[in-house]
Assembly symmetry: C2
Homo-oligomer: 342 residues x 2
Amino acid sequence: MPELSERKKQILANVVEMYIKSGEPVGSKGLISSSGMNCSSATVRNEMNELDQMGYLVQPHTSAGRIPSEKGYRYYVDNLMPRRDVDEFTKRMIDAGIAPAAGDPEKLVNRARELLADITKCAAVSTAPVGEMNVIRKIELVPVGMHTAMMVLLTSNGILKSRLCRIDSDFNVTILEQFYNIVESFFIGKPSGEISPAEIQTIAASVESNYFVMLPLLAAVSDLSGSTNDSRLILGGGANLLSRKDYGDKAIPLLEFLNKKEPLSEVIRSSKDDLSIRIGSENLFKQLEDSSVVVSKYSVKGDNSGSISVIGPTRMDYESVISSMRYLSDLLGHLITSALEE
Amino acid sequence: MPELSERKKQILANVVEMYIKSGEPVGSKGLISSSGMNCSSATVRNEMNELDQMGYLVQPHTSAGRIPSEKGYRYYVDNLMPRRDVDEFTKRMIDAGIAPAAGDPEKLVNRARELLADITKCAAVSTAPVGEMNVIRKIELVPVGMHTAMMVLLTSNGILKSRLCRIDSDFNVTILEQFYNIVESFFIGKPSGEISPAEIQTIAASVESNYFVMLPLLAAVSDLSGSTNDSRLILGGGANLLSRKDYGDKAIPLLEFLNKKEPLSEVIRSSKDDLSIRIGSENLFKQLEDSSVVVSKYSVKGDNSGSISVIGPTRMDYESVISSMRYLSDLLGHLITSALEE
DNA sequence: AATTGGCACTCAGCTTGCTTGAGTGCTAAA
DNA sequence: TTTAGCACTCAAGCAAGCTGAGTGCCAATT
């Protein structure tokens, strides 16, 4: 990454910011007047030309102004973007918006996602808190029919999962007792997600008499506890993308893409850092080539566990999106933590 | 509703069907050729003119063909539309699509909604089964923190609801025991939704010592059991409306409207019959003036309890939508019933 | 009395050409 | 190295013209 001269940096930053604000390509003259640089438009023109050749800017047509390329956005985000705190207004909006959900982890996550979509006017995605430090609190098996029962599993981060299971023989007290004994001695207090099929086999084998009845139940426990939380991945504010003129009719296939759970999950989960920004084709899916994805993780009890994300046009207002997300994911982590500890 | 001559009926039916297929206004000549009527275009023209004046057809512009008015659609749906069974292909699609969800009521409903959206290329809404005959099966209270607990309620139709509650004193065995006693003697087996605040008061008063601890817990039970199932109302396939050229940019405000739970719930719930069709401005919300809403109820254990709906442009293919919905809601009702009884 | 062929008329949507103006690159002077 | 000046480009907006599907009406036909 070659160093740019101070002036080039200044120009690039201005182009990016003006383009983000207006959506119109930025010309040399307009840039001068609204950035207060003290040099002439011709000078800016020369510099822009070089930035163009270096790949930071592009021209939509020969006689139009410049817009940032992906490389331009990337350089801006990495080196030029101011790292301010959330503005007061947004902060209040978040504080006020999330307050009514305090105390309930699930509601908090949902509320956070809705707020994020509203604030950024982009699509927002949330994943529920599922840390590795997470422990199984309770397992219940409630008969629903003769051969079916609802299994309910509660983890220490306050997340409830359920699933219907079916067995071949009738339910009776003995089976239930046996099941609860096993649960008590093998599962309660165990980190969720650490139950291997092999273990299940071993445990099931220990009940000679009811092996074939118990096996599906135990498999269900394993399944439920380890279930990739795809089902806890929720997209909101998709409609916001439609009002963004950036995507013309490309908004429709994009929305269709985002509505599929699996690829979306892949997109979100492929982020490693606490805060990751992927711009345009840095996203591996070609459906996202005109979009940027910002993922911010939040921690519950000091354990990195869930995330909130924003998906919008590459032209999104990175600075405000990121500052909002930083604040919101911090707050969310704290609120969930205290909901569980209190 | 004045009777129309046989020929007028035939013409109206053809206009509606052709317009539904093509989306283009139907002219006299085109109608002749693709409907095989044995009269001249001039005759059709005269008839169309009358239908126009009677209010069944309208002309978008002076020199265009005719399209059905709302009155025209209504007459078609009530009197002219063939009532065929689902076509073989759709039927297979439904059978194959719903099979993997068999056994789990919640999954069945979700799958049905997704299928419906896919088949009709419209938005689809599902509500979970919540009949009046519905009974509380089990209530669990799982402590999550010092002052918080997760309450889980399971009803006889296999639907699970949960909610976090918080109390002022610490949880202890006595409180839990007392709570479960109350649950056992007052709530289990009771029709959900029939627990009045007054009753809660009475019951809470019966535990002199722990009145203030028990009250919020009991209130939570009442709340959970009676909770309007707004939260069980889910919209899917909203993106389908965008690809429908019928709504130009009106699709965006429409989607925004549909994404609000309350009005959508109102729209669905205002249907009384087993199958209700509301066309255009027959819907009370003006956001739906260009849309039709078809609601079909399904029964679980003979008790009319949930519904699936389709929302799409007034130009939707009523015949195929309705036949699909009839088949699907029947199937859904049966599958849920057998999942619970088996 | 109902049906039909013929004809003049309408008008949305497309095509075409013109104009405008923001913006560029280049050159020559400061 | 910067700047003023100038010729050039091209998207977007507008007006005029053309096209063709479709109509309404009338007079002739069955």
